[in-house]
Every structure is written in C-alpha cells, then in structure tokens.
C-alpha cells in the first residue's frame, strides 16, 4: 500500500475568473472605502473642531477710539475673570493682516482705516451661555465691550462638515452593499458551476451550513486579500506627506486641520479588510442558503 496523500477539506474546483473578479473588485472597493473612511475621519474631526473649539470662544470688540489705558483696563478685568480660561489681544498688525486677505496686499488704505480693538477669549463653558455674564462683569469693571460668540459661525461651519461626514458614511454603505452584491453574484455562479459537487455533498450527508462554508472560504480569502491590497494602496496615498496641510497653512488659517489620518486612526483602516471578509462571508452564506433552498432535497 502506498503512502496516502493528505486529504484537504472539500473545496470547489479552482475558478481563476471568479477568484480574480473577487480579488480585483475587492481591491477597487477597499481603495474607495479607505478614501471614504479617510474623508469621514477628516470630516468628523473638522466638525468636532469647528463646532467644539469655536463654541467656547468669542471675540470682544471695543471702539477704534479706545485708548491704551482703557484697553489695559479690559485685559486686567479679563485676567481675573472666573468665566474664561484665556484671552488673546489681537494687535493692529494682526488685524491688518487679516483684512489684507480680504482687501488685497496692496490696499494702502488699510493703514488709515479705524479698526476696532479686539480680544479673542476662551470660555470655560459655551460662549453663547457665558457671554451675557461676561458683558455684565466687564460693565461693573467700567469697561463697555461688545461680545461676539463664535457659536453661530461654528454652526454654519459645522453643517457642511457634518454633511461631508454623511456623504462619506453613505459612500461606505454603498461600497459595502456593492461588495456584498458582487460576492453574492460570484457565489451564485460558483454554485451553479459546481452543481454536481453540491449534489454529491448533499448525497453523502453534508448539511447546508457545511456546503456554505466550502463556498465561503475562497471568497473570504480572495475578498480579504484584495481588500487588504486596496486599503494599503489607498492608505499610502492618503498619508503621503505632500498631501497634508502644511504648518504654514495652519498658522495662516487655524480653523483648518490636517486631514491626514493620525496613528490612532490606523486601526480603522485595518478593520476594512476584516469588514470585507465578514461581508463576503455573510453575502456568500445568504447566497448559498437561498440557492440550496431552491434545490430539491
């Protein structure tokens, strides 16, 4: 008697076309999913920053004719105010620089414009709730200042960021549904192509779940491999240094953020191939269950 070869678990005959289809589509879908995820993470962070940071800040303005002594009175009052965590007087030069963005660098008239004296303040609680109290406290200290909470501005900025997040989540859902549909179609065609194998397996006592697992396995592997490649490719593009917001940009426009995924975001990307394998498993299981139920006993 010769030595017996090792028997592997039953498997469908290799179908290169089906394997490549699942692998290539998984690469593309995972690539898109990774970009959508990066967009979702960025939009979420942007929405958080805009609605979070700005919700706790306000700008205090005093008339242009305010003297330095009066202005110092204000900053002294702010230094001991219990409702704020910090304040930052905006210099004339900084205000002119911001105006220059709107009016152009060559706008010589900026020098002659009467500019309000401004101070950025950060509150312990929401600016909208805290502003009236601050105005009253300043009034008692002999300072008349107008407080402009950033809440409304934050709300207006937060809305498109939240919409961007919704778009990204919708895109992820569509990608997941498309991947599931693709796997179900490939699984259905694989079952049809292996009708004899299915019939034989049932004849020798295989349960539906056992048959399902046989057809799931290659789809799981191809889907996981393809999506891992697609995710790696997209991740490389997303974290590519040239694509990031530079420090100089952030200094000029502090309300912007670097959308590049941070290290603590990386596990979300690792989850993409796992999610694809799970989707492939579930889609294949449903496709096999439907197909087997249609067949005779």
């Amino acid at each position: 008697m010769s030595t017996a070869p090792t028997a592997r678990q039953p498997r469908p005959a290799r179908n290169s076309m089906a394997s490549w289809t699942v692998t290539l589509v998984s690469i593309l879908m995972a690539f898109l999913a990774s970009l959508a995820l990066a967009a979702a993470i960025g939009a979420d962070r942007l929405a958080d920053k805009w609605t979070g940071d700005l919700a706790y800040t306000a700008t205090l303005t005093l008339p242009p004719e305010t003297t330095d002594a009066e202005f110092r009175k204000l900053t002294d009052a702010l230094a001991v105010d219990p409702g704020i965590t910090g304040y930052n007087p905006i210099s004339r030069a900084a205000a002119e620089k911001e105006l220059a963005v709107l009016l152009g660098e060559d706008a010589s008239m900026i020098k002659d414009l009467p500019l309000a004296r401004m101070v950025d303040v950060a509150f312990r609680t929401r600016a909208r709730d805290e502003a009236p109290g601050l105005v009253e406290r300043l009034r008692r200290a002999g300072v008349s200042a107008h407080v402009d909470p950033h809440d409304d501005f934050a709300k207006r900025l937060g809305a498109p960021a939240a919409q961007l997040l919704d778009f990204a989540i919708t895109a992820l859902a569509v990608i997941a549904a498309t991947a599931a549909l693709m796997v179900a179609l490939v699984c259905g065609s694989s079952l049809a192509a292996h009708g004899e194998m299915v019939a034989v397996l049932r004849l020798i006592g295989a349960r539906d779940g056992y048959i399902a697992r046989i057809f799931e396995r290659p789809l799981q592997i191809n889907s996981f491999t393809g999506s891992a490649l697609g995710t790696a490719l997209a991740f490389a593009i997303v974290v590519w240094p040239n694509q990031t917001v530079t420090k100089a940009t952030l200094e000029l426009a502090p309300f912007l953020i670097d959308l590049k995924p941070r290290v603590d975001d990386w596990p979300s990307f690792v989850a993409i191939p796992l999610a694809f394998a799970l989707i492939a498993t579930l889609a294949a299981r449903v496709a096999v269950a439907i197909s087997l139920r249609r067949q005779e006993r």
């Binding site: 008697m1 010769s2 017996a4 070869p5 090792t6 028997a7 592997r8 678990q9 039953p10 469908p12 005959a13 290799r14 004899e196 194998m197 019939a199 034989v200 397996l201 049932r202 004849l203 020798i204 006592g205 295989a206 349960r207 539906d208 056992y210 005779e296 006993r297």
Partner: protein, 222 residues
Amino acid sequence: MIELDNVGLRYPKGETALKNITLTLEPGSLTFLTGHSGAGKSSLLKLLYFAQRPSSGRARILGRDASRVTRDQIAILRRKIGVVFQNFRLLDHLTVFENAALPLMVAGRREAEYRRIVLEMLDWVNLSDKLSERPTALSGGEKQCVAIARAMVTAPELILADEPTGSVDPDMGARIMGLLYEMQQQRRTVLIATHDVELVRYSRMPRLHLDNGEFTEWEVLD
C-alpha cells in the same frame, strides 16, 4: 430497515413515477430492482435516499418516517446510506483518496481517524496504487470502485446501487458485483437497480420488477 406501505410518488409537474409500492427489506438482504428505462427504478431509489418525499402512503426508512424528516435529519440519515451510481458521480478535481474520504470529512471526522479506514477501503477495491490520481485518469471500472469505496467508507446500513455495472466491461462488472455481495455479507442491506436480467439470474438473489411505476414481480430467477 425499509418498510414501504402503498407508497406513491408524483412529481410536481404531475407525472406519476411510483404507484402502490409495498415493500419490506430486512437488514442483511440483497435485492435486485429491475425494470425498463422509465419504469421507476431511479425514482424508488431517490425515495429511499430521501431525495424525494412520498406523495402518498407510508415510508419508513432507517426507522424514520420519510414524509416527516427535516432537511438536517436527512443529512444525518444519508450518512447511513451509501449510494452508487452508473455515472459514478465522483468529483474530478479531487484525488481518489479525497473522493473516498469525502463522506467522513463531511461527517466531521478528523484525518487521523479516517485515514486508516479510507486506505483499507481503497485497498479492498484494489486501488491502493492510485490514491493520488484524479478520477479523469481512471478507467470506468476503477471509477466505480472509487464510488463503491466512497459509499462504504462510513460503514452504512443501507447500500443503494443504480446500474452499478452499466458503464464497465463485463470482467469489471463481475468484480463490482463481488464487492456488493461482500457488503451484504457484512450485514448491510443492499438494493441494486439494474436492467441486466442475466446478472440477476446469475446471482440467484431475489428481485423486484417495476413496470410503469408498479411492482409486477417478486421472485428469485433460476
């Protein structure tokens, strides 16, 4: 083992395959089932391996009412039934060893457990030297031997053979019949569907004759 009482089988399209079939097969019996093509032999075998539910009458197979078994119960019951077909129904992308081991894999047995059984079975059908071959590399007779090994590997209580010698030469046919007789001697219940009356006459075993879905004879041919 098998008790059919006035069983009828009608396919969904309305065609009547079996009528008023009453039959009892005792453990350890070997019975031939004869009849022309379309007489209902394959339909009766399908009913016995639970591929069809009786449309009327009462069928008890391996102690279970064939009308009431669930899909999962059928899977478990089929592990006690070995089926051999004229066209072998082997999986061409698996090796001889894998084909023969398939019912034990499906039953969840580990390779360490079934390896010896499968090797013994393939030795019994004289295919020890072709373990790694694919079925496409085998002759018709060798393929049928693999199918018999596959049917026997779970030590089933019931063996159903549908024209097992139909696609092999006479010498190999005699060898296959010899294997089926050996199964009966091991106290298996064997039912062999064939249209080869000479084979039945030579065996001197009882035969059931089907004609147009009904039993017309039950006899031992001399």
